[in-house]
Symmetry: D2
Subunit: 280 residues, 4 copies
Amino acid sequence: MSQPAYVLLIDCTDQKGLVHKITGVLYSQNVNIIGNQEFVEREQDRFFMRTDFSGKINATAILEELQKVLPADASISLRPKRAKNIVVLVTKEQHCLGELLVRHQFNELNANILAVIGNHDTLKPFTHQFGVNFHLVSHEGKSREEHEKEVLEVAKRYDPEYLVLAKYMRILSPEFVRNFPNRIINIHHSFLPAFIGANPYRQAYERGVKIIGATAHFVNNDLDEGPILMQNVIPVDHTYSVQDMMQSGRDVEKIVLAHALKLVFNDKVAVVGNKTIVFD
Amino acid sequence: MSQPAYVLLIDCTDQKGLVHKITGVLYSQNVNIIGNQEFVEREQDRFFMRTDFSGKINATAILEELQKVLPADASISLRPKRAKNIVVLVTKEQHCLGELLVRHQFNELNANILAVIGNHDTLKPFTHQFGVNFHLVSHEGKSREEHEKEVLEVAKRYDPEYLVLAKYMRILSPEFVRNFPNRIINIHHSFLPAFIGANPYRQAYERGVKIIGATAHFVNNDLDEGPILMQNVIPVDHTYSVQDMMQSGRDVEKIVLAHALKLVFNDKVAVVGNKTIVFD
Amino acid sequence: MSQPAYVLLIDCTDQKGLVHKITGVLYSQNVNIIGNQEFVEREQDRFFMRTDFSGKINATAILEELQKVLPADASISLRPKRAKNIVVLVTKEQHCLGELLVRHQFNELNANILAVIGNHDTLKPFTHQFGVNFHLVSHEGKSREEHEKEVLEVAKRYDPEYLVLAKYMRILSPEFVRNFPNRIINIHHSFLPAFIGANPYRQAYERGVKIIGATAHFVNNDLDEGPILMQNVIPVDHTYSVQDMMQSGRDVEKIVLAHALKLVFNDKVAVVGNKTIVFD
Amino acid sequence: MSQPAYVLLIDCTDQKGLVHKITGVLYSQNVNIIGNQEFVEREQDRFFMRTDFSGKINATAILEELQKVLPADASISLRPKRAKNIVVLVTKEQHCLGELLVRHQFNELNANILAVIGNHDTLKPFTHQFGVNFHLVSHEGKSREEHEKEVLEVAKRYDPEYLVLAKYMRILSPEFVRNFPNRIINIHHSFLPAFIGANPYRQAYERGVKIIGATAHFVNNDLDEGPILMQNVIPVDHTYSVQDMMQSGRDVEKIVLAHALKLVFNDKVAVVGNKTIVFD
């Protein structure tokens, strides 16, 4: 396919004829629709549509025509299909970062890792092995506000489309998150039953859980509470030590994060309320 | 929802503007589109669309209007959303039949089991427990042709939309299959690596496989070779005897069959060449 | 194998030479060891051993000899390998009961279902289809204490080795549970993240979870807090309604319960603290 | 634990009293048994035992005492618990090698990667990023015999305990394999149904498979036919292109290989006939 390819994501109040009207605009602009998916969230009466198309387009004309036929509350995203620019935040654990750096090096991430920012320098040499910039922004002796301001300042230098928290172990303030609405992705472990308080792996060990899970989600104002992108689990048993369970946790976390990023970076995700619509 | 609901499945050579044209017909008929999915199989340049809608419709008018805007090779299926009428074929094993009968009794199958036909009478009392008709059509002393003729005759009395082979252990001839094109669903075990010849569970045991699978598929002229609907696996290990592996095989087969039937009975499956398009 | 088969489960403070001493007793009694598994829980310094053996044994002699060589705190269970006698408690949902009744009828449960007790009579006809006794013990107009006393009285008539809560929707008091220590098995749904309060499926729907789980566990004094036997999950997505998620929950619950019971009824489970040792 | 730790693996014809005799030897040598697992393969009447223990031992004395009490055909392996020395063979694909190199760098592999040997130099820079030796042994213009001789010569310089074929795309001759009996581990994709001939991913695509698998196995004389160590699958669907399926294949291959190696490098695997006994 020599023609440029695009993804159109539309999100608006549902009404009759939307698919017909939207595809009418695309038809009149002579594009080639490759795929089209629609979903109506009945509880909120909200319409979602993702269209994959190619063609030599006049983007302004398409957006103007769409605005004419769509409800006033429509959010329209028309993006060329291309690798996304990202900055990765880390603390000390390498497993998620390693997964991203290897996929990145072999063009399997659909993203450009512009830089890695760590609040420790543990992963600096590892990041450099892959020829990627690493910035230490230590939180030592700083208020959360000061630290976040510095992280933000470093990140913004790269103008990233997404921030990926690859086991970044600090809680982000609502003020920070507001800079990247639905553009920060986090990964965290999770257990059935859920364990509150410190040292969840020890609690999981003591309770003898049989599966350990991981959840990738967008970050919003509530920690670990944003819209879920992907979840999976890995089996464990009574012979696993706390350390073995932590290793299993790392194994499932890195895969869940990588697969969630693939969805996001391919523009397959919309958000409604506190949940995702995943067009896959 | 008090209005009748329908599923429209369209399958034709791809061309520009199909979604626009099809939704235009639906729009003009004033229906409420609940969901819409489109897929283009690029290798065969074939367009597939599934539309879920409700409304008081004039089915003839919709079909006529669609034929006007679609390519000549279009196959159009417009069906009310309702439980399908089915006949189940069995031999001696109960696990798949049991799964279907329990779901059927509690309205979880989206199908009416009109009758069960067995080439043995082993499962007759079990079927009767659920208040479902059972017909013994023994193959003893008959040619395959004669036996199939009888099975067909009994099945056709019920005018079923689908035949479900719930561990029916006889091979169906192309002549028989031709009566129910893409309307016969089979379940069979499967192994990695694949084992040829008799007694695959013994071969799997001797090779020490770590997973046992099951595949649900439409039946076409080649045994075990029709379009695949669903597949899944279950873990096993060296402590499993051949009998334990067979039990695991039964456990995965019944779940895979039940889930595959749910897709088919909800009109979520189209077929292209030897593969399925599953709109789920 | 024509000789009677047994399972020996030992649980005691760890010390040197236990395996040697225990197998010495068995060796002197001339049994055939089929399998032997040992596990030491290091945190509590507790030794667990499961031995599968056959032979014409003098059980009293074996127990006496074992007591001589084991620490004073040893718990020793020597049981013939045979189907367990069970009573099943239900409320209105059939999916778990159906799974158990079908497996029971075809000798795949390794248990005799002596009776089903319901606090509603919804599942009475269904239970009767399988030729199994059903007792209605309504909770209407009774205190929890009175109701439990009646349930206990009916259950004890059958002298069951295990009670299985197959979606029994009432909380059991510690007094009731004390009658069957580590002999009551429950199944319940579970979600990541965990949802507190009423209507967890609605909460899961609103949060857009991507997996729904089920946990089978022994019941102890804390509701839903006993030692975990087995856990598994099933994928769901944004297209699932609350009802679809409930169906997925039922599908995973019944399988997890059936597999957990298989472990328990084959004497493969020991308990230490609030967790299980599963010898599989 | 300050005391040295060991793994004892025994494999012999079954007879009465073996566990008692073996543990008697260990007891007399005053070791601390951490875990003990036994399995009897009934079809071949063969006994397998794995014992994890620690202590200041006299290895020669233990081996001599064991030989006295075990059948003449016993194979006894007594090894200190430690990271294994390995050489990795590759061709052009990086996904498995990347997984191993990252785990290696962070001590999660329980192995020392002494060198990587490639029949192409594609992965040389990538290997060097991790500070690991890379040897190009091109097969161009050489007979298989000549090429294998060179590979063997380079590998043997490192005296590896295991060779790992991390997508090494050349078939090894029985002569080569004989140098490393049950010490070469391979990973390959696998499909249900199995596809014979070139380009299995295209065949899988055309048939519309719903899962893609991977199998890790020891290499013996028959290509892809040695004892299976681990298998797993990943779901795919009709929207996956051949390239997407290949990516899914890579994702599952690297995880299956890493987990299989963990079993092997922790001395948890025995082989009987053409199958593995995995003590996990």
